[in-house]
Symmetry: D2
Subunit: 419 residues, 4 copies
């Protein structure tokens, strides 16, 4: 999504189109959900749908409108306290674990908040001259990318919320098979790379997050990387081989998680004797089932395995006699190796790279400085993009990141190895 | 509420009337609340409104209809897993802390569940002969008293949920002043009792919970008891005198709670510098404010202090040079001493009595055995009744009970002393 | 132990004798333990042996010497911060859970502290005239009874500490069989009491704790009480009958403890497959083993069951078709019923009475006010005395108390029932 | 320390010398400590001195003697359960948080265990032929380096234990000023590096841990690095400037730690009003004090700041307008830049590098595979070496690692910046 257009009117139109399209997409994601569904929070790391709808709107109000529209009248200043996420520079805020307790403002009020802000943004764009547009465009673009990130979180979070309901309701009625390859999965092939100096990271005028830059040279050892993702069928073999019962495959912290949390399989898999199978109407069926946006369905052996923690991904790779790729390997392979399949659109792919700053990394100025850099410790990088990533949001340089124990994302893995 | 009527048709009519009235009252309590409001759970000890509506209905289905209606068809058997509270004998159940995650079944479905059960109960009553009625009446009566208990919990729980919203919304629009005496509070007077043998506890055919019996003799020392409840104005003096900063007034566990939880005043009081005053539209007003069903209001000096833990009640009594009454003293005074005011309708009154079984106590037979006796450890008895207690539900022999740190009930105190 | 002697010189001698005997007994209890053993703390509720030795000494320094010896020079004022237990009125103190981190002062220094205080106390007694003695005697007597309480805690706490060592070392080399009846246990007999008005509680000049008074009349229903304690062999039947796997026998909080803590048998029992049997040199032996002061030994069917929580005691009683006695029943039976065996010297006996104040209870004046009354909530009364209670310390009016989940005391049960 | 000597007899002698010297050093570190001191554990992440002495000995028995001495008789097999640290392949083990509860075996027994193993190792070396030596040397060398690591941990852990004693005892009597530069600290100078390809990591026959290799090329951007460590005086300015009260300097997790843990200054600093100053005999002195191996001493402005978490180091760097070096920058600078001072012997230096595997990393075979690789997630790399690191133990390629919140190591920082 590039908005740096040489022709102002065009730029303004393109921004407006993007704004409308992206804002409408959030609402369409919420459409299958009742007001009750949209209100709850299933764990401190997840947020209610309503909160996502309001928080992304707050971002436009607090970061764009309050600074670029003279005498802008906020919808309700109290919402700034409620819907700030973590921006210390933007004042105190409602504690994260209590987001699910905000039955007020109601969903209707949040939707009115959205309309109020949408009208103001559209009016701003309609009247902005070239100079104003140059000031506005980066903030607006950041706000839209921010909203797209929350669109994915909205889906991951509501899926987690539904996973806590023993009836395991479906987010949507099953239509086209999701998270599945169009055809049968071919045998996995190794794609070789000879190593050497390569460049990774974002550069140019198109939008990217600050953590994707600066583009810089890296030195790679020769390596090979799988042409496709690890499948559920393959992961089931790891389980059948005692993968969750043997310390040898696991990092120390991973093994501690396996034991203290009682992990026996991926978070959203249901074993044959799971009582929730009956509650969700699947009793009597043999084999693994998997819970997803379409509800509970028999495990698809050729679908990429998903909702995996880094610990599980790394243990699988160890068991498979391979390893996870580094993020540099992933990016170089994804952008230069022919035959690299399933780069995005399925699951985010855990890498063996901690989320550290790139050489020369500088946070964005102003409020946005808190956007990415503040989180660069204790997390691992994921690359690619998932079925829940909004179309047009991703890039090969995109650096997603989560703590190693996170199991509620659309996250899987692709193998790599030294050669 | 006595249902043991010698004339069967009359008895059936009275039961039906009571059933309709009480079931309707639950709905009227939920009426001011949105589906979102009714869905959330603000802490493990509280439950969502929707859960209360469903659980009380499950009780009739599981304890009455399943046993007394041949070939009864349950609305949806899965609800038994979701809406059992703690009855071990009635099968496994959804974990209590996750009640707030049940967006499905929706509120509409729960209301349909209620209608389904109501129709079946009414049909049962319409066709029951004398013998059947004799079997049904005790179970139905227990179910109705159970629902009345949950009506009070519904109010206490939604009030707690709203107390977690920094905008502190009001449950109802303020009308008649609640929790207030009709006239100015007179000076507190001591009512004296000479002690001796007295009888407490329930006996007779009218409904009472098993923990209220058997009626038995107790031996009292001479004592005096206050004719009215401790007021907010009086409690404010305790605070002003450093009540929350001096260990000497507190039981050891109470002082530990003061320090570890940071108690400075009753849970629903707001000090002058509380930021939530602004968020709820009360900035600029001096003095204490109190949050309640009517929202935030200036503290009423003559209103009974409420939402007090046992620890706070006991500390206040110590500071005031008095003590809390035992439950036997309370019951004897309430039933025999002239001038005993505010026995009920305002706040439950903490006693100095642990919730132990009465001599000769026997739990109800069957499922109801788990109703009261199972909880007879670690709790304190409260007597009286509150503004949230449904009319007709209480009795002077009624034994309410909560752990000593509970601060979200309509609970206050009345002083007593040795003479 | 009565110290109110009409003849001052005699009184002084008797006090001195008692002081020397009791102080020496503490040291003899610590004698089998190394400096390392005496230093550790196995849980926040337990204290190191060294701490007990120092704290009881601090009590004499802070409560007696500082107030009754002009220009008394403390051994080291810093110890007051370290060895105060919970007396708010006596200043700030080292946090309880960190008592096991005090390697300094060393055991040698603590023993020197004891000698310093002993010398000062003895000098005080030697020079006190009649008036002084009258002032000193109550404080000194309290200090000695306080030290005796800590003698029992010393044993229970070191036993708990050793229970955390997988080699399960013995506190003492086995000599005479402990916790065992002299002869075979006779069949349990029920002793009947006709009820009516009786008096319980302490009165008179002899020493007693404030919580034992005032003596007062109680009204008892007719009851029967077992003539002896429940034995290990009887408790093993409860286990064999699935006692720890069926909710029906347990109070609600008790059942929650069984499940969350994984209770399968009394805390110090070892099942046949316990890996610690091998580490402690008992592999290959069949049946239950029990850990105690003599180390691991085969379970003695006729020994009283010990280290039982209230929850387990109450569950056993329910299973046995009986109940626990109230503390009034226990005291009246122990003092009036012929054939009442094992009143003390074996295990403390859980009663069904919460630890509430007696009618007219007044705490001791001054510092000692914090001694008992502050803990009168959330605990249950135990009566009798145990093998770890120092000789001469107990009385039939003695009220011991612990929270219902406590499992590291010498605590068991005796059955009672309504008649 | 290189043990791969071409001449077997020489190699054997050198190994024996190293063994004796290193084993003796452990005992000399424990010498100032009483048996009580050596027994306690102040937090789950720290271990008792006695445990360190036993665990390092167990390592030789379990990894060397059991495999290389036919018919070796262990001192006491039960110690394998007690003193295994985390080697899953070597069987079950005593839970880490309970290491401080092992008063038995006594210190004397642990010292006897050491002598037993020492005798067996010396006998093995005395009789080993060339072939045997070739098999033994790597294991023995690993064992010695392992023991050296625990020598540093022994000091850090006992320092933490003493920091929990409000009297803040000194580990040693103050002698030569520790942690201090020989002369006044010069102004910090920036050392520039032009970037480009460089090699880092260990190679060659000398001993190194598996995580230091393989040696590999890295591509550096131009950078500058400080010639010396950040001092206490400099860090005090950060504090005085409100460093601990402003979110802007901190990583998000770091700020959360500051707030939830109440950090106001480095862990072992004492503010002027700290009550422990009086307890440790320092009342009345103005300014900061710092607790260390010499006890409490006035803060030395020119001493390197120590016991810093990564969060604090990173916040300081941000405040100073700089950043932490990467580990590659550190290693290249330390080995190639003239004027690079304080590389080791003072404090470990936090880098901005997560502890990820080097390209081509392979764990050691066998049991030692669990040594390093298992921990490569969630930690940060520290470089250099500290005053507590045994002489001869370190190397410029050495990769130390700790979680970002760890505050009990001899850890500080050196600044870097982009150029």
């Amino acid at each position: 999504m590039t908005f740096q257009d040489p022709r102002p009117a065009q730029a303004s139109h393109r921004l407006l189109d993007a704004y409308r399209q992206i804002r409408a997409h959030s609402l369409s994601l919420a459409a299958p959900l009742s007001a009750e569904d949209q209100c709850i929070q299933s764990m401190p790391d997840a947020s209610p749908t309503k909160w996502h709808l309001a928080h992304t709107t707050w971002f436009f109000e607090a970061v764009l409108l309050d600074h670029h529209v003279p005498a802008y009248e906020a919808f309700d200043r109290r919402l700034h306290y409620l819907f700030n996420s973590y921006y210390e520079a933007l004042g105190p805020r409602h504690p994260r674990p209590h987001r699910g307790l905000l039955t007020r403002p109601s969903l209707d009020e949040v939707l009115a908040f959205r309309r109020h802000v949408d009208a103001a943004v559209e009016a701003l764009l309609a009247t902005a001259d070239e100079q104003a547009l140059a000031r506005i465009a980066p903030v607006l673009t950041l706000g839209l990318n921010h909203e797209q990130q929350h669109q994915e979180l909205l889906l991951t979070d509501i899926l987690h919320a539904f996973s806590c309901n023993p009836m395991l309701p479906a987010y949507r009625t099953p239509a086209a098979p999701a998270l599945r390859l169009a055809a049968a999965v071919p045998e996995m092939r190794w794609l070789a790379h000879g190593g050497g100096i390569a460049a990774i990271g974002h550069e140019g005028d198109a939008f990217a997050f600050d953590n994707e830059g600066p583009r810089h040279a890296v030195l790679l050892q020769p390596f090979a990387i799988a042409d496709r993702l690890v499948t559920c069928g393959e992961f089931a073999q790891f389980i059948a081989d005692g993968g969750y019962t043997q310390a040898r495959w696991w990092l120390s912290d991973g093994w501690a998680a396996v034991q203290s949390q009682g992990w026996h399989h991926p978070a959203y898999w249901l074993a044959q004797d799971d009582p929730r199978l009956a509650l969700s109407g699947h009793h009597g069926t043999a084999g693994w089932h998997v819970f997803g946006l379409d509800g509970v369905r028999p495990m698809q052996p050729d679908a990429p395995v998903a909702q995996l923690s880094f610990y599980e991904a790394a243990a699988y790779a160890e068991w498979a006699g391979a390893r996870l790729p580094t993020e540099a390997e992933w990016e170089v392979a994804a952008t230069t190796l022919e035959g690299f399949r399933q780069a995005d659109g399925h699951v985010w792919q855990w890498t063996r790279s901690s989320y550290d700053p790139y050489p020369g990394f500088r946070p964005l100025p102003g409020v946005a400085a808190e956007y990415n850099g503040k989180f660069m410790v204790g997390q691992l990088v994921l690359r690619g993009g998932s079925v829940a990533t909004p179309p047009g949001h991703g890039r090969p340089t995109y650096r997603n990141f989560f703590p190693p124990a996170a199991r509620w994302q659309f996250s899987g893995l692709r193998l790599a190895k030294d050669v």
